[in-house]
Subunit: 304 residues, 4 copies
């Protein structure tokens, strides 16, 4: 297939959707983004690439970073992790404390905020300098040493992060956070602030399309089984409270962030990254979701 | 691949798991089943079949019938249906009323009981004799005119169905059941009582592996898009409250029933049906889930 | 004190509040009431009476009937009753099913609908003709043999009672309803339909102001201890989801109904009954609550 | 009545109950208490006093301090307070976050922990040195300048207070905490650590039995209306999740603490304070509740 032609087609189709939705505005650094931005990038495991629009522009990857820390965590300790966090869809908002109370401080899955805190806490316990470790891992998989944290965003998150603090202390009260809550959240807010482009992202997650092996470096990042499992978790839990709707429309393991990015995996074939800051009510990029739906319609590349 | 050889291998591997778990005992007709039963059947879209064990023996398909009525419903009216039932995982027990109250009588998806009631209600409204229509559809897709309801099971369900009645009247109070609650549940209890074998099931659902077209008769049952969507719903909502765990271990769109049956779709390739009455705590066949996990390990046929 | 003068004063004060609020309209028989109706009646245990406005006019007592059946139930069996229903405020709407699910079919108290169903079920089990028994008890305490059910209201309730049916079947599924759900609810809908006047009500509940003894007939209805307890339950659970606000403003054990009636007990002294059909958001008579607040302000007769 | 004789009688009756229940052990300072301690004290508004047992011994008043700060808050600002905290029983545990989420950060009442945080936050905003102000108020109403904070207890609370921190940050995320969460909780943990005796307590709260006026000093602490209202809140919300059961058994406006203290008001007459460290499952002093029940049985002094 001529992926570049398909992306070009999508760029035309997507125009009416640009600027729709609501840009995340809970911190000033995100609120200032131009809502009409749109970029899309593909990397296949065979080395084919295609890009359109603002695919080279860095943005705040936010919750997409949860795949990075989850990958690190399963490679560090893939047994204990599942005693501290579940693998089921939550059926409720990404930042709800209700389920956490009903289920005694065990978050439903690693992609809701509380679950991501636990994963970051686990990573935290394994490194002297966890922020450095996460950054090194990110640069390694994306083969881009210029990637870094956006300290302005991280600081903003920290200042407005009362609900994340509430979750952290709540889990701590159940004994499910090992380190100091503020220290874990400091790392968490930094990972969310990672500034990456669509091109970075579609390259970085190729190991999830290639049975755990990064085709660019032939390095094994995780086992095939764990790669399959992360894909399964992305499909069932990766898109906030609209995983079902997204699976229904797009049907690819995916993870979104409130910065407007979405990463989708076509197992055995490729990674697609898309970015557009306007969000739907469920917190996923509105034009990004539409672009992925078009991509699947044009290529038939759904897992179903 | 030599599917028969793989099934034979699985039959050996599975022996330690037979008789484990708990047979559904809320009605006498199900409680009396021999817990060591085990059958498995494959139908590929190319006409290859393989079976082992009790694959020809009929059992109560229970919630697997929800795929049959959902298929009928989307072919009858695939727009209004999604105003009355969601497409998201529930994050709670299949028969919980909590979410129904919080979300004003709109069930989370068509595979929890409340959602299935709405689907049956929708089917009910389109036919003079809905029980006859569902039976005719089932016989047609499975190409087996001897399939019928088990009236003893249906009667037992009705006598113990207080929680289903509670759900039905609760949704009726929100205006989300059109017909008489008792009439809709009478049809629902009958569809659950359908007695089918693994062979029947792996043949019947071939249209979900073949873009909506039944390869046995070349008849189009639903559109490709709707076929993809039912697969997506099965993956995200088909295995009660362990969809995430099942996707993590097996990774195929599947639907289970408390009779011990599970149907799994390998899109573009085949349908696998398995039956063993012992249930895990989440209500899915314990040996059946293990058999599917082994099948995926031996064949690599996961969607991830 | 000159209670008649105080009631006259209140009748003047209350004029701006008449017609405010929303008349219960879920059944036609209630929706047709003139919203400006207002009546108030006092009976002291010493035989003093005072009335104003529409105090002689019969209206649908609705949930006030829950005191009648609770009184019957505690006199029939005051030990087992508290295994089947709690004594705590619910913290949620009178017809919520959420708590019922979280607490395994045991309603929080006898004054939410589910709790009242259990009480009616208990009464039902003790009589050949429970409807006749409840009516006889009501006539006895109010010394008015002309009181009867309003069969039009009862029939309307039955036709729109889907949520009550949902609760009944839900508790039945937990084993907490002994008789047939429809039979119990038939009695429940009849007790709610009882047509009584303010005068009837302030006379009927004098036993709750007089340590369990009806001063009019010197008949012991219940023990002093049980009388105290029903007053305590009325104070903590009698006013739907605004018991705290009502205790804060009025401070008397009270029970309201969606027909617009409220009964308040001044222990050791008197019973006050008030009626005005316009309801506040919490489902209590708006002018009735105001009238009681004025009464307490003028007389200082609060229990606090 | 001869109150001393009645207390002496109770001291005999209560022996079998001493040492029953479970001493609060979440902090070492509380866990070390002798579970057989028992004291009881009465102060009437006419100046009569009576004491038994360990009535002079200081203990940690814990949640009883919520009456002190609520009294300060209503005298400082009795309008805005009710926009930030409700007046309804919670129907759930004293430290639940579920309701807080469902009701957008507005706690149900001032006596659950979250509600007490809001009250302390409000007091905090009015004073340069809020800890000093609370201590001064406490000494003033109890006429005992030797009362002070137990800094060991306060420090222990702070170290184990993750759940309180979770609540604080959660409400902060809804905008319902004005000051820094840690600062407010520091004050809160100190007020909970106040060491007072039964005698101190029965003297301190006389204003609630005397229409807002402290009879010892003839000082008006709050208006009669606010005094009635605090009594109403104590009755409907003061005993954790067993207010209904307590009202049923004792029937007096009361507030308990996990230190084993309970304060009960007989409006117009007296205050009773009781202390015994063994707690029932609901967190109230077991022998203390029994002693109050006996007192009401012997004296008939219930509000119902």
């Amino acid at each position: 297939m001529n992926y570049q032609a398909i992306l070009n087609q999508i760029q035309g189709d997507i125009q009416p959707y640009l600027g729709q939705g609501k840009v995340a505005d809970y911190i000033p650094a995100l609120a200032g983004i131009n809502p009409s931005k749109f970029g899309m990038s593909i990397h296949t495991i065979d080395g084919i690439t295609a890009t359109i629009g603002d695919a080279q522009e860095q943005f705040s990857i936010q919750s997409i970073s949860k795949i990075l820390t989850l990958t690190m965590a399963v490679s560090l300790d893939d047994t204990n992790i599942w005693k501290r966090v579940g693998r089921e869809p939550s059926g409720s908002k990404f930042n709800s404390l209700i389920q956490l109370e009903l289920e005694q401080g065990i978050p439903r899955n690693p992609f809701i905020n509380a679950g991501a805190h636990v994963i970051t806490d686990l990573v935290y316990s394994h490194f002297d300098d966890p922020k450095e470790a996460i950054l090194a891992f990110t640069r390694m998989v994306s083969m881009n040493d210029s990637i870094s944290y956006d300290y302005v965003v991280a600081q903003s998150e920290r200042e407005t992060g009362n609900r994340n603090l509430a979750m952290g202390y709540f889990m701590k009260s159940f004994g499910n956070i090992e380190n100091k809550v503020r220290d874990v959240l400091d790392v968490y807010f930094h990972q969310c602030s990672l500034a990456m482009s669509c091109t970075d992202l579609s390259k970085a997650f190729l190991y999830l399309a290639n049975e755990g092996v990064l085709p660019t470096s032939e390095k094994t990042i995780i086992t095939k089984k764990n790669s399959d499992r992360i894909n399964a978790l992305m499909l069932t839990c990766g898109m906030y409270d609209s995983v079902g709707d997204f699976a229904y429309r797009v049907g690819l393991p995916s993870k979104s962030g409130v910065g407007g990015g979405i990463v989708s995996i076509v197992p055995g074939e490729m990674v697609i990254a898309v970015w557009s800051p306007g969000l739907s009510e469920s917190g996923n990029s509105l034009a990004g979701t539409k672009a992925l739906e078009l991509f699947v319609n044009y290529t038939g590349k759904t897992i179903f």
